[in-house]
Structures are given as structure tokens and as C-alpha cells.
């Protein structure tokens, strides 16, 4: 029986000066790299496949399989690239940023091993620009890794060479979408590409490219060090391993909880001391604002890819935003919708125009104007957006709306009866006494 919490990626975050090479090495860091360099690249791909690691950035695509999609070098002579998606911007998601601030070398080691496995000689970490100290820590880690011979030419005499660049973005949620990220990394507006071709075939500079979330890549050293069976022994059958669960909002001890996939919110809430005194859980997101809302009915849903999907949502990034009964769901949903409207890149009409109109209708409802028919109008608009754009941003915009109408229709109607929002926004603040 695996323990309730299984710190691996978070295990060294409390160490003194954990971000430095000295501290990381003292904790056994870069041993996995040494071991990886004695293995054949394909053996590492196999190991990651066998471990069952699935993408930690939201979609849960099997990481090793993604690597396996690269065309054989003899059929495509272009250089291969590894790009790390560290653009963490999904509302509620806050796992990669603390990881890179506390232990940037975990990610750097993962980048080196993963690049070796896919035979890439250049890698990039695309980190969102709005996190200055994380950018500092990443750059320093890369500089230290070069100086120690973990990066650069002929790494530790293995004959393998790798150049790694830390690249800061400039504020655009859409760049977390993998093909928009690639366009952005090419110095363009960050707009998603039509697929196929997939990045494995034509990614960065139209060359074979693997793009993985930061937590996925950071998990690779632990797999190499401890074995595929070790990793697969945690979690559930199809959702192997551990992940960082981020609790935020109206809980007594918000923060990062690293646990095997399949843990429930009930267990996590117990560890976190429950919701605020005198209040009850009202709604929550299992994996960021783009994943349909859950309610107290879903406390026992196993938080793995299959369990959450079966209950009508998505595991996403394990961003558990907890809202208690002081929060107006219409206010919450309107704010998320304004976010999607602001962040829509404008490429696809259903998303660009649709998110604009969603905001108009929701604003009307929140003010207590409009009518019950507006709820059907909203659902119709969602139907016109869902699945009709190049990427999932528009789909994500519909998630909070359709799920909140399903669970809280009466609350929308209460705004009409009340002639406005019946909630006191002061009651939901962190400093509220009520």
C-alpha cells in the first residue's frame, strides 16, 4: 500500500538553498543523468513508456509514446528539439512555478536525460515571463549545469552534446498550448497551428520536436533512477505515478500536495484541514478553470485521468481551486469567461467572437438583467464554440459555463429574481470574519 502522500519532486524543496547545484547534488541529484548516459537512448524511451508516465500539463498524453512518434533519423535529417512547456498559466495551476523556483536542477536534469533519450542536441525551456525569480533560478541552474559538465559538448565523456536555452515568454495564456508555444518560440505571435502535422514531425523550425510539460520532464530523472516499475507501482492502473496536487482557495492549509494519482479531494481536504470554519464546500475545479466544475457530490471521485473523466470533467493540471458557500458561482464564471475572452488569440472565429458574446450575456445575467432564456442562449453559444477551433482554449471557456448551469441553475435565476448578485463579495475574502 502506497503512502497517502509521496513527495518525490517536492522532496528537496525544504533543503537549504535547494535551488543550487551543491544542494541538489548533495541530495543525489544528477545520479540519474550518470546512469542514463550508460543506457541506450531507446532504452530510456522504453523505460518512460513502461513507467506509464502521462503528460502532466493537462491532456495526459503518454509521454514515452509522444517521444516514440519522432520519425526515425534516417527518414528525417532535420535536427530534433526538446521544448519544455513551463508557461504555466491555466487559472488555478501553480505547481511548475514552485518546482522551478525551489529545485530548477530537477527540471534541468530531466531535460538532459529526455533530450538524450530522443537524440536532441538542442533544448529550450519556455517559461512564462511574469515570474522573474523563477527565470533567475532557471538561468542560474543552467549556468551551473554547464560549468559542471552536465550540459555542453561531450557531456561527461559520453560523446553526447546538448545546448539548453531558457526562454522567457511575454504574457499570453495561449502560449501554453503547444503549437502556439512553438510559434512564440520562433519569434511570432503565439497562435496555434492546425494539426497534422504534429510537432513530432514538424514542430520547432518545422523539425521533429517533442514538447512536454515541465512536471512531466521533471519526473523523468526519478523514473530513470528508481525504475519504471517503481513509478508504475504508484497511482492507478492507467494513471501511473505521482503528481503535484495544488489546493487553493477556501481551505485551511492551501498548498502543494504530492500524491499518487487517484487520491480523492476528500482525503486531500482532510489533510488540508477542510474548508474554512462555518462554511461548506460549494464548487471546485479538478484541474484548472478549463475543466468542468465539480461540487461536494464529487468528493470521492478518484483524481486520475479516468476517474475524473467518468465523472464528467478532466484531471487537467490537478489545480484544485476550492470555493465555499460564500462565493457566487455566476461571479466566478463571469470572471473566468472574461479571462478567456482576453486570452483568445483571435485566430479562430468561434472562439474569438464566441468568448466576446459569452461575456456579454453573462454580464447581463450577473446584473440581474436579461431573462431565463439567456441560459439557453449561453448553452447554445457554448455549443457553437466547443470543438470548432484549432485549439482547446475555446473549449475550456465553455467548461465553467455549461457545468455551472448544470449544477447551479437556480443561482443564475436568483440573480434575476434579486435584480443583481445576492452575495456579499466581502464575505469570500481571505480576511473575512463571517
Amino acid at each position: 500500500m502506497t503512502d497517502t502522500l509521496t513527495p518525490v519532486l517536492t522532496a528537496n524543496w525544504a533543503a537549504d538553498r535547494a535551488w543550487t547545484l551543491d544542494a541538489y547534488t548533495a541530495q543525489g541529484g544528477y545520479q540519474a543523468l550518470q546512469k542514463a548516459l550508460t543506457l541506450l537512448p531507446d532504452d530510456i524511451v522504453t523505460m518512460v513508456k513502461d513507467a506509464g508516465l502521462r503528460g502532466r500539463g493537462g491532456a495526459g498524453f503518454p509521454t514515452g509514446m509522444k517521444w516514440g512518434f519522432l520519425p526515425p533519423p534516417d527518414s528525417n535529417p532535420n535536427p530534433r528539439y526538446l521544448v519544455v512547456n513551463a508557461d504555466e498559466s491555466e487559472p488555478g495551476t501553480c505547481k511548475d512555478i514552485p518546482l522551478m523556483m525551489a529545485s530548477p536542477h530537477t527540471l534541468v536534469e530531466g531535460v538532459i536525460i529526455s533530450s538524450y533519450a530522443i537524440r536532441a542536441e538542442r533544448a529550450f525551456i519556455y517559461v512564462r515571463g511574469e515570474v522573474l525569480h523563477v527565470v533567475r533560478r532557471l538561468r542560474a541552474a543552467v549556468r551551473e549545469a554547464y560549468a559542471a559538465g552536465h550540459l555542453g559538448q561531450d557531456i561527461h565523456g559520453s560523446g553526447y552534446s546538448l545546448e539548453l536555452v531558457v526562454h522567457a515568454g511575454a504574457g499570453a495564456y495561449i502560449c501554453g498550448e503547444e503549437t502556439a508555444l512553438l510559434d512564440s518560440l520562433e519569434g511570432r505571435r503565439g497562435q496555434p497551428r492546425l494539426r497534422p502535422p504534429f510537432p513530432a514531425v514538424a514542430g520547432l523550425y518545422a523539425s521533429p520536436t517533442v514538447i512536454n510539460n515541465a512536471e512531466s520532464i521533471a519526473s523523468v530523472p526519478s523514473i530513470v533512477k528508481n525504475g519504471a516499475d517503481w513509478f508504475a507501482g504508484m497511482g492507478t492502473e492507467k494513471s501511473a505515478g505521482f503528481g503535484i496536487f495544488s489546493l487553493s482557495g477556501h481551505v485551511k492549509r492551501p498548498g502543494q500536495y504530492e500524491a499518487p494519482l487517484g487520491i480523492t479531494l476528500r482525503t486531500l481536504l482532510e489533510l488540508a484541514g477542510g474548508v474554512r470554519d462555518g462554511h461548506e464546500l460549494k464548487f471546485w475545479t479538478p484541474g484548472g478553470s478549463s475543466t468542468p466544475l465539480f461540487t461536494a457530490e464529487h468528493l470521492d471521485v478518484p483524481l486520475d485521468f479516468e476517474g475524473v473523466a467518468a465523472a464528467g470533467s478532466m484531471l487537467g493540471t490537478r489545480a484544485l481551486q476550492i470555493f465555499d458557500d460564500s462565493v457566487c458561482v455566476v461571479r466566478a464564471v463571469l470572471r473566468w469567461t472574461e479571462f478567456y475572452k482576453h486570452e483568445s488569440c483571435g485566430k479562430c472565429t468561434p472562439c474569438r467572437e464566441g468568448t466576446y458574446w459569452l461575456v456579454q450575456v453573462l454580464e447581463r445575467l450577473e446584473k440581474g438583467q436579461g431573462s431565463e432564456a439567456d441560459l439557453d442562449l449561453l448553452l447554445d453559444q457554448c455549443d457553437n464554440i466547443l470543438g470548432r477551433a484549432f485549439c482547446a482554449l475555446g473549449d475550456g471557456a465553455t467548461s465553467p459555463i455549461t457545468s455551472s448551469i448544470a449544477y447551479f441553475r437556480a443561482e443564475y435565476l436568483a440573480h434575476l429574481e434579486h435584480g443583481g448578485c445576492p452575495f456579499d463579495p466581502a464575505a469570500s475574502t481571505a480576511w473575512s470574519e463571517s
Binding site: 502506497t2 503512502d3 502522500l5 509521496t6 513527495p7 517536492t10 524543496w13 525544504a14 535547494a18 532504452d43 522504453t46 503528460g55 498524453f61 516514440g68 512547456n85 498559466s89 487559472p91 495551476t93 501553480c94 525551489a102 512564462r128 515571463g129 511574469e130 515570474v131 522573474l132 525569480h133 533567475r136 542560474a140 526562454h167 522567457a168 511575454a170 504574457g171 495564456y173 501554453g176 512564440s184 519569434g187 511570432r188 503565439g190 510539460n213 528508481n226 525504475g227 519504471a228 517503481w230 495544488s246 487553493s248 477556501h250 492549509r253 492551501p254 498548498g255 502543494q256 504530492e258 481551486q321 470555493f323 461571479r331 479571462f339 482576453h342 486570452e343 473549449d395 475574502t429 481571505a430
Partner: protein, 261 residues
């Protein structure tokens, strides 16, 4: 006025980090902001010249990203998260208080204080620190668990030129110096601040109290089975397995084209 020759040198230095120079454009625009205080027409010209693009092409990129500013930014940039979670936890109240206190609207800059210091106020989207809500950013450094009072104190200290330190980060320098770091030039402040804040460590602490940990490593050295030569049958089975899995995945992938993992 066109940019100094040293700036041109640094722009070229950024472009040279990449296999294709244009990849340097985002950090180059950060550098332009650090020397110009915003993205100026001269800065756009300079990037275009270095990369062999037209100014319109550079402009098209600069206007896409919210961190690039067309109006002059103050000494410090203060961003208050008003995405849903921070908003309900108090971000809306903090933003309203700062607007009133500073006498500016969203994306506006205060007049200079007696010390010649000014602040640009903006409401920002989720900054990946939800476990510290409500969150405020100063020059993109984290100020965690804010209240209207603490936020007012921070901006007053900034305008008075007093030393201000981020909750998880370094001493505050200036927005321009921050932009220089984002362009890829280190400022020597990496070792300031903690590795992690309290919320980042909460799960680790609970695991420690309960004696919980990940299981020990696999007994056999990992990867060994993969390097053992397999007989023909095994090899064939494995290959069939891979082919099937890949076929399934292609089908999945076409459904999941919006994946951001």
C-alpha cells in the same frame, strides 16, 4: 533617438543564442523595454534591423503580448491578480483600494513622487501562485497573501524609495531591471529569497509528520530488462504491441489536438 550601439550589440547577442535568429525576438523586446521604458518605434526598428524583418512584422508580435507596453511604464509595475480565485479571495478589493490610493485606473501610471518614483498599476491574470491568494506582483516578483492594507504599504514604500523585498523572491529593483533579466542578462539576485514558501511546503511537512514517503527503488537495476537481448518471438510481440499502441494513440491524438501537455 535610435538605440545605443551597446544595445544593438546586446540585441545581436540575444539573437545568436538561437538556431534561427528570429527566436530571439521576445527576449529582444524585453531588452528594448529595459532601455526604453516601453516598446518604442526606435526599439521596433532596431529589432527589425537585427533580424532582417520589417517593422510591421516586429510590431505585430509586440502588440500580441500583454507584457509589452506601448505607454511608458513607471519605475515599478504593480500587478494585482483579479482572476477568479484571487478575486474572490480579495484581489478585487485590493485592486480597488490601490486604484483609489494611487489615483489611477488600470494600466495607468502615477505622477512621479518627490523621490522621482512612479508606479504603473495593472490587474493581471492568474500568475501561478493560487495557494498564496490573493497575490500581487511587483515587477513580476511574488507578494503573497496580500490584504488591501499590506498592498498599500508596499506601494507607499516603493514610492518613498524604501527597500521592499518580495515574499518569494529578491529585493525589488525596478521594472526596467526586471525586463533586463527577462531578456536573459543575470542580475546577481538569484540567491535572495527562500527556496519555497510555506504553502509550497505544506504537503511535504504533512508527509514528514506522518512518516509518508514514496516507496523504495526497484530492487533490480532499472533498464536492465530493456537491454537484455530478446528472442525473436518476444521482439515480434513487442513490435506488434507498439504498432497497436501507436495506432490507438494517433486516433487519440487527433481528438486531443488542443493538448497542452
Amino acid at each position: 533617438m535610435s538605440l545605443a550601439p551597446e544595445t544593438y550589440d546586446e540585441l545581436r547577442e540575444i539573437a545568436a543564442r538561437y538556431p534561427q535568429a528570429r527566436s530571439g525576438l521576445l527576449p529582444m523586446l524585453h531588452l528594448v523595454q529595459s532601455v526604453e521604458g516601453r516598446v518604442t518605434p526606435e526599439g521596433i526598428e532596431a529589432c527589425a534591423e537585427v533580424l532582417g524583418l520589417t517593422p510591421a512584422e516586429v510590431s505585430g508580435v509586440a502588440t500580441f503580448y500583454t507584457m509589452y507596453k506601448r505607454n511608458p511604464v513607471g519605475t515599478h509595475h504593480v500587478g494585482v491578480c483579479t482572476n477568479t480565485l484571487c478575486a474572490v479571495m480579495g484581489g478585487d478589493a485590493i485592486f480597488a483600494r490601490l486604484r483609489e490610493h494611487l489615483g489611477v485606473g488600470n494600466d495607468e501610471t502615477t505622477p512621479e513622487s518627490a523621490d522621482g518614483l512612479s508606479i504603473t498599476l495593472e490587474h493581471v491574470e492568474c500568475n501561478a501562485a493560487c495557494d498564496y491568494a490573493p497575490v500581487m506582483m511587483v515587477n513580476w516578483e511574488f507578494f503573497d497573501n496580500q490584504t488591501p492594507e499590506s498592498a498599500v504599504q508596499v506601494v507607499d514604500d516603493l514610492r518613498a524609495g524604501r527597500e521592499v523585498t518580495a515574499s518569494r523572491g529578491a529585493r525589488i529593483t525596478s521594472w526596467r531591471e526586471a525586463e533586463r533579466v527577462l531578456a536573459g542578462f543575470e542580475d546577481g539576485l538569484v540567491d535572495e529569497g527562500p527556496a519555497a514558501g510555506e504553502a509550497s511546503l505544506v504537503g511535504l511537512a504533512i508527509a514528514g509528520e506522518n512518516g509518508w514517503a514514496a516507496p523504495p527503488s526497484d530492487p533490480a537495476p532499472a533498464g536492465e530488462s530493456a537491454t537484455v537481448p530478446a528472442d525473436g518471438k518476444l521482439e515480434a510481440a513487442k513490435e506488434a504491441d507498439t504498432r497497436r499502441a501507436e495506432a490507438e494513440t494517433v486516433a487519440e491524438a487527433s481528438q486531443e489536438e488542443g493538448s497542452d501537455d
